[in-house]
């Protein structure tokens, strides 16, 4: 299923950003239009019509004795207006206590393009966005390297585009770490550029199999000479209150669900959970991600 490919990734390329996205295996470049979206494809937030905030906590590779890794994510989007677009703030952090952490601080802006490009047809909706990012790594060095500064940081940027077609097909493209960000302690260590092409298909009721509010998505990541394929799917049940998600990549498969509580003043509180089972790392009960999101 997850044929392909090589993915030898390290600094600032783990993509534990948002539980909905993780439940879909991280295939989110042509899907995301919520507070999970900024780090996958910033252009997606242009399609948001409410403010949203999401907060994620996690435990990676639970059950593996001697391994304590957490990944946290915070996202906020604020749609100003169709003319002015939307802005976002996001923070993600992957940390091993007492060893090393990576933090990404992100400010994003996105806008729909149809009016600018004078596209009157409903056949397609286009958007574009840009992220400004500050990347920081902090390492607790051993005694012989204690003269080094523990933190190194650098600025970089992403761009993203998305096209949503009226027949349910979505195409997304995101180019990340476009500005060379040198995070090396003793020598140049630039975070590598990542290009992601995303495809998605949405249908209110998938023909033949009758799956409601169904989305299927694929992301193909290109980084250096490496290619990674991510696949994901999502369906909403119970009058769109309950979400069920599946996904995976070569190293892991994912499963997730979420439940939304709607309130009278058009606000929605959603609790999401995602489970990722690593296929190569032994003795793990899987990685667990939970989040609370609030639309208002």
């Amino acid at each position: 299923m997850f044929a392909a490919v090589q993915s030898v990734q390290a600094a600032f390329v783990d993509t534990y950003w948002g539980v909905r996205a993780l439940g879909m295996g991280g295939a989110y470049t042509a899907v995301g239009n919520d507070a999970n979206a900024p780090l996958y494809n910033i252009s997606g937030i242009a399609f948001a019509n409410q403010q949203e905030v999401t907060l994620m906590g996690s435990r990676l590779f639970a059950g593996v004795d001697g391994v304590e890794i957490s990944a946290n994510y915070f996202g906020y989007i604020y749609p100003i207006s169709p003319e002015w677009g939307a802005i976002s703030f996001a923070w993600s952090s992957t940390a091993v206590p007492g060893l090393r952490r990576e933090d990404t601080f992100n400010v994003g802006y996105a806008r729909t393009l149809n009016d600018i490009l004078r596209i009157d047809s409903d056949f397609v909706e286009l958007s574009a966005g840009v992220n400004a990012k500050y990347l920081m790594q902090e390492t607790k060095f051993d005694e012989e390297d204690k003269d080094l500064e523990s933190s190194k940081g650098a600025m970089t940027a992403d761009i993203g585009f998305m096209a949503l077609f009226s027949n349910g097909i979505g195409i997304g493209y995101s180019s990340k770490y476009l500005v060379p960000a040198d995070i090396g302690y003793l020598e140049k260590d630039e975070v590598k550029n990542v290009n992601v092409l995303g495809l998605s298909y949405y249908n209110d009721m998938l023909p033949y199999v009758k799956i409601p509010y169904f989305t299927i998505a694929a992301d193909i990541l290109f980084r250096d000479n490496e290619t990674t394929l991510k696949l994901g799917a999502e369906s909403y049940l119970l009058n769109r209150k309950l979400a069920i998600r599946l996904g995976g990549r070569e190293e892991a498969f994912d499963f997730g669900f979420g439940y939304s509580f709607e309130f009278s003043n058009n606000t929605v509180l959603t609790a999401d959970y995602a489970f990722e089972m690593p296929l190569k790392i032994k003795e793990s009960y899987g990685s667990h991600f939970i989040s609370l999101s609030f639309k208002f």
Binding site: S7, G66, I69, L99, Q137, K282
Partner: protein, 396 residues
Amino acid sequence: MVNCAFADTTFATLKAYVYFPKVTISHTPIKTISAETRLLKPKISVEFGREGYSSATANVLYYTDKDSTVRTALDDELTIYNNNEFYIALPELAESVSSVHYKIRIIAVNDSGVTTEAYYPDSNVSADEYIEALVASSATAEVNASDGGTVEYSDGNQEYSGTTVTFDPGSVSGSGSVIIEEISLDDLFAAFFPVSGYARSAALKAVKTVATSDIDKNKMLTAYKVYTTGGININTQGYATFSYGSSGSTATKFDVLYSADGSTWEYVKVTSVDTENKTVSCDISNFGYYLIMVSSNLNDSDYRPAKRVRIKSRISNGTYEGFRFGNLVEGDTVKIYNLNGKKIAELTAGDTNGFVWKGRKDTNNSGDWAESGTYVYQIKVKEKGKIISGTIAFVW
């Protein structure tokens, strides 16, 4: 340590001076070569004496009692630099060889391209005056009650320390010879461990006396017999430093077992371990056999890397080696994963440097440099049938 200096000459011309390098060679002569390893590997250090001189080359000239032809240890001269400390190993000696004569040769080049040769012990010695090293498996020294004494057994490989047994004044009564004899494991097995297949000894630490059938043969590294031919009795204790360098073991935790006659063995408390010089120290209260083994009482932390953060450039320039996983043997594996769960490197038995991840991808550090990041390691210890995991950071 003896220093020899040669060829310090200055020629004056009307307008220029040509300096020949003063080459000082430091070396401690090797007197014995282990009959087990049959390896002569002298440690040599060289100073050129003045700045401005470029490189030099080194080699060892030698001949044996079975072949009087003077040969060189290296086909290609070893390039060295000022204040270098290095080792040159002779080819493994044939079984029939019982002695080796050797001489160290340095060829230095000055800034003008003029070469000069220096030797240790001397440039003028004839072949029969080369340093003589005897193939032997034992060393002897006189020990008495008033002065004590020290026996030193060198196995010929100066990359690691030799074996010594020391008795302080008053620690023994009587006088006579004390002998350290290296016992080959084959001889030890034949004499005391004739049955194939040995039980694990991991659970036996609580029992001081151990039957031979309960000692794990696979963990044995080296053995020595310490005995006296005179009327010496140990009143208090002596101090022993046993070399395990010939085993090539990269272990970090060891057991020393003692036996008077080989029938039963008991654990001796290890007082220190020097993994750089590959020695294990303990007190000795009796003459008899001493067996050095990889410890059978290892816990998870004995396998984990002591250093959890390594920097690429400091590995590449030799400041340190990388992430060393201790006490692993053939059949064990270490796998390194990134935080996406992708395996990026693997270490297996057969790596000559032991289980050290040097920050490179693929198997046994054969690939390109890994990227900066946090990594998960999983050590599979075959003997214990378990996986030991942890996290490390490799940064640039």
